[in-house]
Subunit: 187 residues, 2 copies
């Protein structure tokens, strides 16, 4: 990959036109940056193995977990107890080989990992919507968890139906797939 | 923060009981790891400044953007065109000072950054649900974008209503907040 720069256009044309302009003037390649992410806590769950862990939390609402945010981040949880659901972001720290396109648990066809929730992805970031049952200082009790026990937490955001529900969205290739027993030796 | 270890319990008790056990036996402190995340592409949008950028994409559905995934990841997009909506993950690369609890655009009260979508957070990871208009190889045209122009992309996941809609979720402290003009000098 080439190194990259981009001209910032400071003119006062309206945003839409400016965007059109920027499409034309960007003749250099794009940057390729790296970022350091730090663990901010740990997710505990009943699931020790990938076989035990649900495909998605919504299908096992009774699965209980515990999120321990490191005490130095406790202030970042202020008013989180007003939400019924939160989104956990974590690292798939036990993911296997990264293949850009591969079958998932749901069918035998290959799908790009950006078109699935496969854990083996270029940046192994996982996202799970869970129900927030209780907060005790820096500890969150949650349910509908689909995360392996002892997983490093990197962020929490509130789930906000006003912002996050897209009623008209389709389910893409997953539309017609039934949940099934996880095929063996598949991640 | 102390260094930490955790005993893995290999017994064959059912997951729920094993989890209860693990709560008791974890007497050591938690690990504190760091992870390297790499840029996998770039998000282009009409928004050059935080003032121009919508608070949430759902409120400005006409805002058009373009996602350029680096060509070496094109295979990871296989079948993404079957989805109407996708979730972009990116780095808030122009975020200011991190304060764990602070007011947002929506009201004057302080909220923990894990209880808001504030960009200035311990790991500056942003998440936006956008509509996928068109795919051309490694380029995605999207709408309802709320991301600054030229933002580093780190992951894409499909938005899947079957997995991601929680009809009964509340809006927490945001329930009663009206959208308003962004206060000046606030991020």
């Amino acid at each position: 990959m080439k190194l990259h720069f981009r001209i910032h256009n400071e003119c006062k044309t309206p945003p839409k036109l400016r965007f059109a302009l920027s499409k034309k003037i960007r003749t250099f390649a794009l940057p390729n940056m790296k970022f350091e992410i730090k663990q901010i806590g740990t997710i505990f769950s009943p699931y020790q193995t990938k076989e035990e862990c649900p495909v998605q939390g919504i299908f096992v609402p009774e699965g209980q977990g515990r999120v321990e945010v490191f005490p130095e981040y406790e202030a970042a949880l202020d008013t989180i107890e007003t939400f019924s659901h939160i989104i956990l972001f974590y690292i798939f720290d036990r993911a296997g080989e990264i293949k850009l396109s591969r079958p998932t648990f749901l069918d035998e066809a290959s799908h790009g990992v950006f078109a699935s929730r496969h854990p083996c992805r270029p940046n192994g970031i996982g996202m799970s919507i869970v129900q927030l049952e209780k907060r005790m200082k820096n500890i969150l009790e949650v349910s509908a968890i689909d995360v392996l026990d002892n997983t490093p937490l990197i962020d929490i955001k509130p789930y906000i139906p006003r912002f996050d529900i897209r009623e008209k969205a389709n389910n893409g290739w997953i539309e017609t797939k039934e949940l099934r027993v996880k095929p063996k030796n598949r991640e």
